[in-house]
Structures are given as structure tokens and as C-alpha cells.
């Protein structure tokens, strides 16, 4: 209710300022018989902006400090014996008084001093509120008046408005930078706190992952060796790429080089559906369908495949990555100039020979970039491995056994308890930092290659 009033008041003031600017500049234009530099609309807008800025500053200050002020008021009014209580008791009293003042009341009887302060608080609140709104309005009006006196035919109002718009736009594009800074700062900050518990050497080169639980006590430090997790990540990504690489690349070649237009137009969107399916769905699919299916196949050929294993997770992740590889590769292959194909075909080579000896070598850098991006995606994928990799963080070369990965461990360590003080949860940030560094390196190289390659033929 209150904030609605404020918004309405502010809008009314801005409308007023706009109107004033508009009429004033129009009047000037007709009176002086001189051409305005900017159209009246811009004069109005400029005044509205000037009106809003100081009013907003006042309101923001009140929003930040208002609560503090009213608390301060209550504390100052309390009788001496009540005010001596410890802080948490005082909070309770303050809360009670606020309840009474708001008209909601309290369930038991009010102490006389409480009703008295509450009545005072009500007046205080009204007065403070009115004066803040008045102050905001006055500040806005003063600023408007000052800006109003600047209005003249020569005033470059449009340029000033456009500068404000430009600044807003630039600020918005700074958000992306802020995000990156936020990611790096938070990961680094928490990771450094983690490294005060565990030395980086033990973390990066340790071969045992057994963090124990933070509740076990200071004695149970646990082992935080990254290598088993890293191995799991590499293994799962490798299997995923072995599935997605050939299928994705061959599908891209077929669609770019062979498929008739109609097949291409229907097949391509269908394959790309795979890219839009949420990863949790893939995880469920892996856990309930692919895992048991692979285990059955393994049993029938005498191979011991666990239902949740690196293999299951890798295969399903591979399916997820197929459209990623196929659409990127498709773009890259179609970008290879027609003349190169024609030259090769003209010398008598078959279509497949042209593709293998001419098109693919020419597209190689781009394809490498696409594969690197796909690997980076596989490395950072979480839900499939959470559900289907089995979570067994040991160094083990058998892909049919359960493994754990960096991402799985981040989830395990950080869900459940949000106590950011123990190494058991802080390690998630060190792992996140490792993951971020890995994917960043892959992405930078891949984007560099892709971009460089694109320029070659454009």
C-alpha cells in the first residue's frame, strides 16, 4: 500500500516535470521564433529524469535506514528497566510494540508503557513517512526547477537524454563482466578458505577421496584427493565422446552432404530435440532404462556391467551431446567452399573421397573446436552423473564400475548442510574452481579455433 503510494507520487511528479518541460520549451520555441535544438519531448524527458533522480535517492535512503530509525525511536522511549535487557529480549519487545502499533495487537494484555510507545510510534511513523515523501517530492521539484531554468532553445536536451540512455545500456552490458568477476571471486575466496584446512598439494595430487562428515569432529579431517574425481570425470567424458563423436559427426556429414532437402528439414529438428531435453530427464532415463538394459546385455554376454556405472552415464551423456556436435559440425562443413568440392569431384573422386580427403581436412580446425566445446559440456554436466554414475570415488580403470565425478561431488558436498565453515562443504568451491578452470581453458581454445577458422573462408 505504502510503496504503491510512493510509486504513484513519483510517477505523478515525473509526469508533471515532463509536462512542464514540454510546455516551457514549446513556449520558448514560439515566443523567441527560434528553432529549438531538441524537440520538446526531449526537454520534458530530461526534466522527468532530473525529477526522478533526487527523489529516488531520498526514497532509497529511507528504505535502507527507515527500519533502523524506528527501532532507534522505540529503544529511546523504553523505560530504563526494560531497556537494560539483553539484545534478543529487546528485539522481542520491539517486535511486540510494532505489532501493537500496526493495529494487529498482541494476544495477551499490553503493558502500559507498550501502548504508550506504540501510540507514539504510530505518530512517529506517520510523521516520518509523510516527511520522507514530502522530502522526496521537494527534492524532485527543486531539481526540476533547476533543470527548468536551463531550458533554452540552445539546450542540447536530446544529447543529454541520450547520454543517460547510453549509460544505462553500458551498465547493462557490464552485468556480464560482474557475473564473471562474481564467479571468480566467490570460487577463489571460498577455495582459499578451503586451502587453509587442506594443502593444495594434498588436494590436487591426492589419490584418496574420503571427506568424512563435518560433524565427526575436528579430529576426523578426512582425505580430499582430487584425482579419483578427475579420473571419473575424464572417464565419463571419454565414453560420452566415443558415443557422440562418431554418431554426431557422421550424422552431420550425411545431413550436410547427402541428405535430400526434405529429409534434412525433418531430421535436423528431430535430432535437435535431444539438445532441448532437460538433463534431469536424461538422468532418469539412464537410471531406469539404459542402466538396467546395459546390465542385462552385459549379463547375457558374460560381462559384469553395473546398472549405475561410468559406462551408463557416459552412453547417455553421449546421446545428449550428439545434437551439439552434429549441428556445430553441420555448420562448419557447409561453410567449406563449394569450389573445393567441385575441384575434387571434377578430378574423378567419389563423393565420400571428396568428403574424407578434401572437406574434412578443410573443416578440421572447426571440428576440433566443436569437439572441444562438446567435451567442455560433458565435463560440466551434472544431473546425468549424479543419477547414473554410481558415486564411488576411487581410482578404477574399469568403465563398467561405478565412479564419481567432480560435479557429483560438488552436489554431494554442498547439499544438505549449508554450513560454509567446514572443509567438507568448502571443498565444493575448490572443486568448482577446478571445473571452471578446465571448462574455461577448453572454451577459450575452442572459441579461438572456431572464430579463426570462420574468418578464413568469409
Amino acid at each position: 500500500m505504502h510503496s504503491l503510494t510512493v510509486i504513484i507520487v513519483l510517477l505523478l511528479l515525473m509526469a508533471l516535470a515532463y509536462r512542464v518541460g514540454l510546455t516551457r520549451s514549446r513556449h520558448l520555441a514560439s515566443g523567441a521564433r527560434q528553432r529549438l535544438h531538441s524537440r520538446p519531448v526531449y526537454h520534458g524527458t530530461l526534466l522527468a529524469i532530473w525529477c526522478a533522480i533526487p527523489a529516488l535517492i531520498v526514497l532509497v535512503l529511507w528504505a535502507v535506514f527507515g527500519d533502523e530509525l524506528s527501532r532507534f525511536y522505540i529503544l529511546a522511549q523504553l523505560p530504563a528497566d526494560v531497556a537494560k535487557q539483553p539484545a534478543d529480549q529487546l528485539d522481542l519487545v520491539v517486535e511486540r510494540i510494532r505489532q501493537i502499533a500496526s493495529g494487529f495487537g498482541v494476544a495477551d494484555t499490553e503493558a502500559p508503557y507498550e501502548s504508550e510507545i506504540a501510540a507514539g510510534l504510530r505518530t512517529f511513523g506517520t510523521v516520518a513517512w509523510l516527511s520522507v515523501v514530502a522530502l522526496a517530492a521537494v527534492a524532485g521539484l527543486v531539481a526540476t526547477r533547476l533543470a527548468w531554468s536551463r531550458i533554452s532553445p540552445e539546450l542540447r536536451a536530446r544529447n543529454e537524454v541520450e547520454r543517460v540512455v547510453g549509460a544505462l545500456l553500458a551498465f547493462c552490458s557490464g552485468v556480464a563482466i560482474l557475473t564473471t568477476i562474481g564467479i571468480v571471486a566467490s570460487l577463489l575466496g571460498e577455495a582459499i578458505r578451503f586451502f587453509t584446512f587442506v594443502s593444495p598439494i594434498d588436494f590436487f595430487f591426492g589419490t584418496v577421496w574420503n571427506p568424512r562428515f563435518s560433524t565427526v569432529g575436528a579430529g576426523g579431517q578426512g582425505d580430499f584427493g582430487l584425482l579419483p574425481l578427475l579420473w571419473g570425470t575424464v572417464l565419463v567424458s571419454l565414453i560420452a565422446m566415443l558415443v557422440a563423436g562418431p554418431i554426431g559427426l557422421m550424422a552431420a556429414i550425411y545431413m550436410a552432404e547427402y541428405a535430400p532437402r526434405r529429409v534434412r528439414m525433418t531430421a535436423k529438428p528431430i535430432v535437435e530435440i535431444l539438445a532441448g531435453i532437460p538433463t534431469i530427464v536424461y538422468g532418469f532415463f539412464a537410471l531406469t532404462i539404459v542402466g538396467p538394459f546395459l546390465a542385462d546385455i552385459g549379463a547375457s554376454i558374460g560381462l559384469d556391467i553395473r546398472a549405475t556405472s561410468a559406462f551408463t552415464a557416459g552412453v547417455v551423456m553421449g546421446i545428449m551431446i550428439i545434437p551439439f556436435i552434429s549441428s556445430l559440425s553441420d555448420d562448419i562443413i557447409t561453410q567449406v567452399p563449394r569450389a573445393m568440392r567441385d575441384g575434387s569431384l571434377g578430378l574423378g573422386s567419389t563423393h565420400s573421397e571428396t568428403i574424407k580427403r578434401v572437406v574434412l581436412p578443410a573443416a578440421l580446425p572447426g571440428l576440433v573446436g566443436a569437439f572441444l566445446l562438446a567435451i567442455s559440456r560433458a565435463v560440466g554436466e551434472t544431473m546425468i552423473v549424479v543419477l547414473a554414475a554410481g558415486n564411488r570415488p576411487v581410482l578404477n580403470a574399469n568403465p563398467f564400475e561405478a565412479v564419481s565425478t567432480v560435479t557429483v561431488t560438488i552436489v554431494n558436498q554442498l547439499t544438505g548442510d549449508a554450513d560454509f565453515a567446514s572443509p567438507q562443504s568448502l571443498v565444493a568451491f575448490a572443486l568448482g574452481l577446478t571445473l571452471f578452470a578446465m571448462t574455461l581453458a577448453l572454451n577459450v581454445v575452442a572459441l579461438y579455433i572456431v572464430r579463426k577458422y570462420r574468418e578464413q573462408y568469409e
Partner: protein, 454 residues
């Protein structure tokens, strides 16, 4: 002499032709193999789509119909002995009235609702020597609160008999649908022998029937009563997050795309921003979750499990997508439009906001929908900011505890009552996929219908 030369020449040519013939055959065979491999790859990829969808549909569709018991329940005033609800007196403070009201509600909560259900069941079954426990066990345990809600809404129904649809217990549903092996001995069944018998008898007489599972959409998650667990809370949580993403990511994303494409000078800084945005688009989603956990929750002390935090995290994730695709939309507009605007004396800002932006709106909308659809399906970052907490209420504001649709799927797939929740999870997946597919279809539709080709 000449003839032999000719002969050798001919046989040589013949031999060469045969050689070429053979090698050609080999090469053509290789060509066909290569082509076949490509075709197989495409078929495999399409096959995966088909298998995935059909298996999810096959498992999930039956869960949209759920065993429901229709009973005549008598609201016996002797059992429901709470009296009429209190009314606010003129001299009563709001707080005192609320206290009175809460006492009445507590009285309602303590009523033995199961007794009403038992009565209804006995009436429906007729003569039976089944124990009270077995009878009550047929009905989902959360359903007794439905009766309480009915009294709460209309206290006048006490003393009357109403027909009520009650959800059957999850195990009854599993039993009737055959999702459990009926030949297993009773000791390994979830239902007792009597209950199996009763369930079959009631099903034959139509008292238990398969009704559309409204509870899936209208109820919130429930632990004690799996049969009445629904998606409403998660859905509203997701809705809040999507709103936050739209409100924040779209203006900021479009503004920064406009800045980078139309205003930014080409220098080191804008190069950095550009590389940075491309990188952000490829950062694993879980890293954004870590950012949210440490910055929004650790530093700003925003509440755990709140859609607000989830929405902010997803906004940061969606921003690069929206920026990149808005930029490519802007780039696709022909420069002649810009030149024409500038040529008649428009300023750069006027050119952008009066001419370029209106033409780019369809592309921006498409980008927005695709970004929102992607954010809708994201799970991993939400786990790190506590949205995997069990929440049994619909969040009233974005600051309340909540889960999201994909997180609810994650929670349900881990439920111990596998036989029931595997189908329930698949049904939730169908709901999520249906939402995402309709969003994407909308995007495709807009791209094809509204977007102009230059």
C-alpha cells in the same frame, strides 16, 4: 608382329580397364558404405529421441489416472465435536481473535477423521471382518485432511452425509495397476492379504475407480501420503523463477546486446566483454549454482530455497543466451535501415529505438522463449541453493521456501516407494517436457510466421 603389339596393347588396356573396373567397384562400395554409415548415424540419433519419448510416455501416462475411492461420508457431530467457529467480537483485538480461531482450528485438527472414513468404507463394503487398520490403510493418509478442509470451508456440513472422492493409498494404486508382482507372497507385499482382497472387490464394484489424477496438478508434495503428492508447489516455484528471469534477463540482456552491437566503440574493453559473454554461455550450470550459494546466500544472506535466489541464478545463466541471440538478430538486420534513419537526420539512439529495435522484436522474443525454456529445465544449480528441500506448501511470495519442477523430479526419483513413484516421476517429466515443447514450438512458430527475412 604388329598384331602381337596390338594384342599386348589391347590386353594391357584390357587389364588396365579391368583394374580400374575393380578399383571403381571397390571405391563405389566404399562410397555406399560411407553413405550408409551416415544414414545409420541419423537414424540412431532419431531412434534415441523415439526411445526416450516412448519409454517416458509408456511409464508416465498411466500415472495420470489414479485409484480413487468414492464414499458416502457422514460427518457425525459426535466425532466432529468442535462447535461453531468463533466470531470476532467488537472489543477483541485482531491478535486475540486469531488466537481464538487457531484454537478452533486445532480442535478440528484433532478430530478423528479416520473414523469418518472407516464408517464410509464399512457402509460401502457391507459385512466384513477386516481390521480398522486394514480399512484405513486403503485410503491415502493425507486424504483425511480433505475432510477437515471441507468442514473448515463450510462448518454447516457437520451432521450431513456427503459423497467424497478420496485418493486410494499409493500401494492400492500399485496393486490395481499391476505395477507389483501379484504372485509374491504376502510377506513381501505392501498390502496385507485382507487389503488385497478388499481392493480387488471394491475395484470390481466400481467403488474404487481410476480417475484423472487432479492431485498431481493441484496438490503439493507430500511425504506421509505419496498418493496425494502433487506438483503445484514446484510449479508455482518454477513460475516465480521464470517471471524473475523474464523481468531481469530480458531487459538487461537486450540492453547490453544493443550496447555491444550498436553503440560500443571497438576497443579492448568491449572485446573483453564479448569474449566474456561467449565464455559465460559455456560455463557449466553448476558453477552458477556455486556462485549463488556463495554470493546470494553467503554474502547477501538471502533465504535458502527461495525462488528469488533461484531466479537470480537462472537469470545470470540465461543472460548470455539472450545477449548472443539478440546480437545475431540485430546483426541480421540490413544496414540500409540504419543508413536510411541516419540519413534523414535521426540520432544514433533514435535510429536504434525507433527503427532497429521494433524490427528485431520477433527475434528477441524467440531468443527469450528459448532462454526461458532452458532455464525451466535446469536442475543442478538449484540443488546448491537449497531448492531440494522438502516443501509441503505453495510458495506465496518469491521469498518463501519452494522447489522447482525439475528438482521435484529429482526428489521423486529418489523416493523409496519405487513402484509408485517411478510412474509419478515419469508423469512429472511428461508435464515438464510438455511445457518445454510448447515453449519451443511457440518460438519456432514465431520464427517462421512473424520474423521477416531480409
Amino acid at each position: 608382329m604388329t598384331s602381337t603389339v596390338n594384342d599386348t596393347g589391347r590386353s594391357f588396356a584390357y587389364g588396365q580397364a579391368a583394374l580400374i573396373e575393380r578399383s571403381l567397384r571397390r571405391r563405389h562400395a566404399r562410397e555406399r558404405r560411407f553413405r550408409l554409415m551416415g544414414m545409420l548415424a541419423v537414424i540412431a540419433a532419431i531412434g534415441f529421441v523415439v526411445v526416450l519419448f516412448s519409454s517416458v510416455l509408456a511409464r508416465g501416462l498411466p500415472a495420470f489416472w489414479q485409484a480413487t475411492i468414492t464414499l458416502d461420508v457422514t460427518f457425525d457431530p459426535e466425532v466432529v465435536d468442535v462447535g461453531p467457529p468463533p466470531e470476532q467480537q467488537a472489543d477483541q483485538s485482531e491478535a486475540a481473535f486469531q488466537k481464538e480461531m487457531n484454537r478452533w482450528r486445532r480442535g478440528l485438527a484433532l478430530v478423528n477423521w479416520n473414523k469418518l472414513i472407516e464408517g464410509g468404507l464399512r457402509k460401502a463394503i457391507g459385512e466384513t471382518d477386516a481390521s480398522k487398520r486394514d480399512l484405513i490403510g486403503l485410503v491415502a493418509s493425507g486424504e483425511r485432511f480433505r475432510l477437515r478442509e471441507m468442514v473448515l470451508q463450510d462448518p454447516a456440513i457437520v451432521g450431513t452425509t456427503r459423497q467424497v472422492d478420496l485418493l486410494a493409498n499409493a500401494n492400492v494404486d500399485v496393486w490395481l495397476k499391476g505395477n507389483i508382482d501379484r504372485s509374491l507372497p504376502d510377506s513381501r507385499q505392501q498390502l496385507s492379504g485382507d487389503q488385497q482382497d478388499l481392493a480387488d472387490r471394491l475395484y470390481e464394484r466400481g467403488i474404487i475407480h481410476m480417475a484423472f489424477a487432479k492431485s498431481l496438478f493441484l496438490n503439493v508434495d507430500s511425504r506421509s501420503s505419496p498418493a496425494s503428492a502433487g506438483l503445484a508447489g514446484a510449479f508455482v516455484g518454477s513460475l516465480y523463477m521464470m517471471l524473475i528471469v523474464i523481468v531481469l534477463a530480458v531487459p538487461i540482456g537486450v540492453a547490453s546486446a544493443i550496447y555491444l552491437e550498436e553503440f560500443a566503440p571497438k576497443n579492448r574493453l568491449t572485446d573483453l566483454i564479448e569474449v566474456n559473454i561467449n565464455n559465460l554461455a559455456a560455463v557449466p550450470s553448476i558453477v552458477f549454482g556455486l556462485l549463488g550459494a556463495s554470493v546470494f546466500i553467503g554474502w547477501f544472506h538471502l533465504p535458502l530455497s527461495a525462488p528469488l535466489v533461484g531466479g537470480l541464478v537462472l537469470t545470470l545463466m540465461t543472460l548470455p543466451i539472450i545477449i548472443i541471440s539478440t546480437r545475431s538478430t540485430l546483426r541480421a538486420l540490413p544496414p540500409s535501415i540504419r543508413h536510411a534513419a541516419l540519413g534523414v537526420g535521426a540520432s544514433r539512439t533514435q535510429m536504434v529505438f525507433h527503427h532497429v529495435l521494433p524490427l528485431a522484436i520477433p527475434g528477441i522474443l524467440t531468443a527469450t522463449i528459448i532462454g526461458v525454456a532452458q532455464a525451466l529445465g535446469e536442475t543442478a544449480p538449484l540443488l546448491l541453493i537449497g531448492m531440494n528441500a522438502f516443501v509441503a506448501s505453495v510458495p506465496g511470495t518469491p521469498l518463501d521456501q519452494s522447489t522447482a519442477l525439475p528438482v521435484q523430479i529429482f526428489l521423486w526419483q529418489g523416493n523409496e516407494n519405487r513402484n509408485f513413484f517411478e510412474a509419478r516421476t515419469s508423469a512429472a517429466i511428461i508435464v515438464l517436457l510438455a511445457l518445454m515443447i510448447s515453449l519451443n514450438a511457440l518460438a519456432v512458430f514465431m520464427r517462421q510466421r512473424i520474423q521477416r527475412r531480409w
